[in-house]
């Protein structure tokens, strides 16, 4: 049925809610890429098989990622009018056992993560309570969702539906309030009013730059043209970041609706989603979402019976980090190489095919619908004055609980890493947290209480970025980390402008000589000076931020650079040229594990006797170090 009126929308909403909350047991498997990689597809198949086999009257569904990647595969069992229980680290065997338990009318007692007694229906401003009026007693002990440290401080706006709905069904999205904002914008608001609300919400570009979204739209709105475009930047290129993937795979309609509203506001009739080819599942779910939205009349001609028509196309990126830069992205959609060009003119003046264009990131678009329905005041109640609202981070690295987290801006780094993320894994010490990907910087322990905001992170020499947050511990060499990021930007530089193309190459040469122990103290000063000039002189954001990892690591970890140079030592014991592996004669019990795993036969020793590492053969791969259970391998 095509949706033309509010009644139509409400009718579909009813359908959707029935699908999301059926009157029988529903088993949901988190089937985003990370879940599937962790084995969710095998779990799903086992569940399916067992349900059929035992004839259990239950619905099996897939859903997106609820964010707790560390604990994948995640399975949720929804007991109607009772409770929803989340299970973690599921396996096919356990899945089968779970179905058996359900068949017996029991709650499967293993791999429990949490119980969910109520869910927020964010757009509607309502709460879906499983058992009214009070949560039911359970036969097993399981923490409540809001008590789990990983979830406790999170506020989900962009991720409002991820892990709650089947992303391949538009009805479920509508059930949780999807497309209500589009209806409201088209039927009750002028484009100008839409822009005013977005402006008042203080929403800033979540792609990294933090440019006020409403202002960007206003520029575009003010540029009269026969044709305008809106683009979603889904070319999530930062290494160690997968926020956009989470949304694309978990709730594609959030993005579609946001884009349609944006198009209405600026006067665009066509839009593109530029999504990287490395996300095949996201691309598939986007295609399904667009098709369903078109069928329902929520994309296409005369949406909600108005004059507004909007078509969306997907463009696959082919793997070039620089295409995250808006002018490069536009060039790429035009079928050309993704080389940025100088601004002005800004895309809002002259963008795709020379027409006014707005480009926003997946996360930015996903914030739009709730802002339109709930209003700017509601949105600004989250976050800080300078940076209102929430944002999504991919919290990864040397952390106990990695995953996708959405926090109100202003949450401190410490809260994120130690409360949400559970602290540093493996009894190691925190060393630095890297934000902003290759454009960002490494922030040391003394700044852990810094609130996460655009300006505060900027003041530390890093940037908010698109949302990668990589935690590093004492075993991470900061010179090597700088080298890693520089290698990335050097490889990903489009090569158009000299400072970025040639400059990163030269910075890399200097860093390499430092990690090889042949650098000089003057190199450090030259690195800093050159970095500043490259930032100043480069054409686009890539080059203008590429030296940030170098600058921040020198700023906060200068002594580590100096150790490489003056003592020829890598304090974190990472840089191969500066370390050697030895066997601790006290601790070695001759178990032979290191000898067996050594890929180059550099370990010798008879069983139960002291082993020895042959230095001329050792390639310093560290496998023996990892494998020794007795801490008998020493790195010096």
């Amino acid at each position: 049925m095509r949706i033309k009126t509010l009644d139509d929308l409400q009718a579909v909403k009813g359908e959707g809610l029935k699908l999301t909350y059926p009157e029988k047991i529903k088993i949901m498997v988190g089937m985003a890429t990370c879940g599937i990689s962790a084995g969710a597809d095998k779990v799903y198949k086992a569940l399916e098989k067992k349900i059929t086999e035992l004839g259990v009257d239950a619905v099996l569904e897939m859903t997106g990622c609820i964010g707790f990647c560390q604990r994948e595969p995640l399975v949720d069992v929804v007991y109607p009018h009772r409770v929803r229980i989340s299970y973690q680290a599921m396996t096919p065997d356990k899945a089968e056992a779970m179905v058996e338990a359900i068949k017996e009318g029991q709650i499967y007692p293993e791999n429990l993560l949490c119980r969910i007694d109520q869910e927020e229906l964010l757009v509607d401003g309502k709460v879906k309570v499983y058992a009214n009026p009070h949560p039911v007693e359970l036969s097993v002990e399981v923490p409540k969702y809001e008590e789990v440290p990983f979830f406790k401080k999170q506020v989900k706006v962009a991720l409002r539906n991820c892990g709650y709905i089947n992303p391949e069904r538009i009805e479920e999205s509508i059930g949780r309030g999807g497309y209500l904002a589009l209806y409201k914008a088209l039927k009750e608001m002028t484009p100008r009013e839409v822009i005013d609300v977005v402006k008042a919400s203080g929403l800033r570009g979540r792609g990294g730059g933090g440019f006020p979204t409403g202002l960007k739209w206003e520029f575009c709105y003010n540029n009269a043209s026969d044709m305008k475009y809106v683009i979603c930047n889904a070319d999530e290129g930062d290494p160690g970041a997968f926020m956009d993937r989470g949304i694309l795979e978990g709730d594609p309609h959030a993005l579609l609706e946001g884009m349609a509203i944006g198009a209405y506001a600026v006067g665009a009739k066509e839009g593109y989603i530029y999504c990287r080819a490395e996300y095949p599942l996201a691309l598939k779910r986007l295609e399904i979402a667009i098709e369903q939205a078109e069928k329902r009349g929520l994309l296409g001609d005369n949406i909600f019976g108005t004059d507004f028509s909007f078509r969306l196309k997907i463009r696959e990126g082919a793997g070039a980090f620089v295409c995250g830069e808006e002018t490069a992205l536009i060039a790429s959609i035009e079928g050309k190489v993704g080389e940025p060009r100088q601004r002005p003119p800004f895309p809002a003046q002259s963008g795709l095919w020379g027409k006014p264009t707005i480009i926003n990131n997946v996360k930015t678009w996903s914030h739009i619908a709730p802002i339109i329905v709930r209003g700017s005041e509601w949105y600004t109640s989250f976050g800080t004055k300078q940076s209102p609202g929430t944002t999504v981070f991919a919290l990864v690295g040397k952390i106990i609980d990695a995953g996708l987290v959405e926090i109100p801006l202003g949450t401190t780094l410490r809260e994120m890493i130690f409360d949400i993320g559970g602290g540093i894994a493996g009894k190691k010490n925190f060393k630095a947290v890297q934000t902003g990907g290759p454009s960002g910087g490494c922030i040391p322990a003394q700044y852990l209480d810094t609130p996460v905001e655009y300006d505060t992170l900027g003041a530390l020499g890093s940037i908010m970025g698109s949302g990668g947050m990589i935690v590093m511990d004492e075993r991470d060499c900061m010179v090597n980390v700088a080298k890693y990021f520089l290698d990335f930007t050097m490889e990903e530089s489009c090569g158009k402008c000299t400072p970025c193309r040639e400059g990163t190459l030269r910075l890399m040469e200097m860093l390499e000589s430092i990690t090889r122990g042949v650098g000089t103290l003057e190199d450090i000063d030259q690195l800093m000076e050159m970095s500043e000039t490259i930032k100043d002189g480069s054409l686009c954001g890539l080059g203008q931020t590429a030296p940030n990892p170098v600058l921040t690591t020198i700023k906060y970890f200068r002594e580590e650079y100096e150790a490489h140079i003056t003592q020829k030592k890598c304090p974190a014991k990472v840089c191969k040229e500066l370390i050697t592996f030895h066997v601790d004669e006290e601790k070695c019990n001759g178990c032979g594990r290191c000898r067996l795993v050594c890929p180059v036969e550099a370990v010798e020793g008879a069983k139960k006797e002291l082993h020895k590492i042959l230095q001329d053969k050792c390639i310093k791969c560290g496998t023996c170090f990892d494998r020794c259970k007795f801490d008998a391998i020493i790195v010096e």
Binding site: S37, E72, F242, A320, G335, A394, M472, T533, I619
Partner: protein, 845 residues
Amino acid sequence: MVKLTINDKLVEVPEGTTILQAARQVGIKIPTLCYYEAIKPYGGCRLCVVEVTAGPRTSLTASCAYPVAEGIKVSTDTERVMKVRRLVIDLLWSRSPDLPILRSIANDLGVMAPSFPVGDSECILCDLCTRVCSELEQLGVIGMQGRGSKREVLTPFGELSDVCQECGACGFVCPTAWIHEVAKIQAPCTLTCPAGINVQGYVQLVNQGKDKEAVKLIMERLPLPGTLGRICPHPCEEECRRQTVDEPVAICNLKRFAADQVDLKELGLEKGKPRPEKVAIVGGGPAGLSCAYHLARAGYQTTIFEALPVLGGMLRVGIPDYRLPHAILQREIDNILSLGVEVKYNTAMGRDFTLDSLKKDGYKAVFLGIGCHVGMKLGVPGEEANGVMQGVDFLRKHTLNEPFELGKHVAVIGGGNVAIDVACTSLRLGSKVTLVYRRTRDEMPAFEHEVHQALCEGVEPLYLTAPVSVKTDANGKVTGLECQKMELGEPDKSGRRRPVPVEGSNFVLDVDMIIPAIGQRADTSIFEGTGLETTRWNTIEVDEITFETNLPGVFAAGDAQTGPWIAVGAIGDGEKAAVSIDRYLRELDQKEGRIKKRKRHHRPKTFPVGGVVHPRAVMPTLPPEYTCSCFDEIATGFTQETARAEATRCLNCYSDCLEHLGAPGTASVYKAPSPVVVQKLKERSAYDQPADEKAVAAIINKYREERGNMLPILLGINRTFNWLPRPALEHVADDLHIPLADILRVATFYNAFSLVPRGKYIVSVCLGTGCFVKGSPRLLDRLERELKIKSGGTTEDMLFSLEPVRCIGCCALAPAVRINEDTYGRLSPDNIPKILKLYTAQPAG
């Protein structure tokens, strides 16, 4: 108009002007390497950065690409600006330490030596060449390939594209001249020269001050450099691409300059091993001399049979010595003779010997180069009168000092070079000269500068006038020329407007001598009875490639074969005949590898005017008041300074000579380029499987109507084949009319594409930061060792390709490896062998 300040100076410029243009207008110099006025600004080199304050923001920006805006403040020389410029030039200079242009800009900016370890590139990646090729010429012959510091300018698949128009725009805009290495094609001048001289090569050698080498390069083809340097009508200059900027390079004058600097005896021309065969050259004009020269150098016993007492043909007896001093010609002829060429003077065919007698005398081959020495008649009554003398006869008698009676008032009839030579010679001998020509000065076939010279010296022209009859006195002596006025009618076949007589306009010109100079022909009567075929234009019939006549062992070239033409043509054809004679005597195939030379280059439609404009050097001449009364050479030749400056005007189109010049002294240095083989348009490479073509066609059709469809199409092909096969790329190029270079630019830019076949399984180690800090580089190390390939490589059995991936977004599973669709997380290096086994054990994944 927009008002802004540049360095605190108020400037007003039209809207749309860039800061760079505005600064130049007020005389502020901003260096740049990637800017060219006629094409879109690029903003890549960053040398032109300036500080711009617009509103509350001050930022550095490329001035070439920044359109002026009302009230902006621009500073072009702050320390911040200089810092960036210094770094940029330092980086570029370090990359390309040998480029003078970088040194000079660097020195200007205070960078006195490259700071970084130096490279050896000559390309600074300014992208000008490829941009001008695709943007301005819309050809896309060359293109940038690769990304970042790996980018380079290439032709598709390293082959010269058949769409190249050889316009040379790429070379013109290249700030380093490096592009010539990429497009190895002959320059238009070289292609045009009828003698196939490496024109560009010698101009470049003169540019470098290597006059001797230049002459040697010329003499590979042309034995008379000083001669042709004076009288050649230089068709090369007509094609010279420099004229699309301002005027053609004075190529011919440079040839003369080089020749004048060099003593031919010191050249040490190489000579082949002596061969026993005797060859007879009939006629010692330019064709015969050239043929003799090349045969002698090949080792043959060569004898010239010359009807006149001197060698040189028309060069000697048709061109007055104020244009070509006899001594110059003689010096060069003597040089040819010094190779062992014998001469029989005053020996005429048909009178002193015949083709048969030559054969009897042991000559194994004969070259006929008898020229055109018979003047064409006017066809008017009274032409046989005493006092009428053919122009060619007049010039011959004069140069050979044969006695004749000169009129006091001479009418020279005609508008070609011979007519002018006759007129000027008569003038020098003391006559009053009237030049009678039936069209106007604009239609005169003679060189403009010679007409000009003649008029300056005092020749009186009578345009739009045709002779009607010769008036004589009772003794049959000329007393006047009856003429008729003409007017110009419709254009004739040659494109010139046909003269039409004006009724009743007859008048008599009071002259006592009439010299018709309206054309010459060969005296083919001497071939009667020999069986030699001639054409209806009274020229010798030959094969146009080999110059063989219908008689075995007899070859012909020069004016006798072409009709009156230019010396350089005769010389070129003489050489070709020499090649044929050599092949004939060695019983080789005549045609193998030889083609009729065809000009292939085209002028660019829209040449990028806007470069440094430097007018052509003018040949200095003696004043006409002086030259009109003596036979001193009019043109005095270039000075060193003029010659070198003129040679630098050469755009050095493409220039295969560049690499030759790179290593002087090597054998290849003086090798003239081989004639361009005109290929038919390249055919598309064949697909391995016929089904592949269908698959690609389907992909193209799917996206055909979409704008910007190149990326989806390439992704589709890449997915289907696991790489981008060449036939598929060519298919896309043909079908969508996109230059192959543009497609390759895209195909080499994005990580997803591969231009070489990849393995069945793509092993992608995730190098995202999450994986990196958890040790994914060690996974990569291990995979490299296990698969025995480097990152980016493919195993020999085509099973695995190792391609690190930037991030697969599974950071919680770090470190991870993806093999095709399967992801493996939380790995340590020693898991690797086990995982690989999953794919080697069961081949069908």
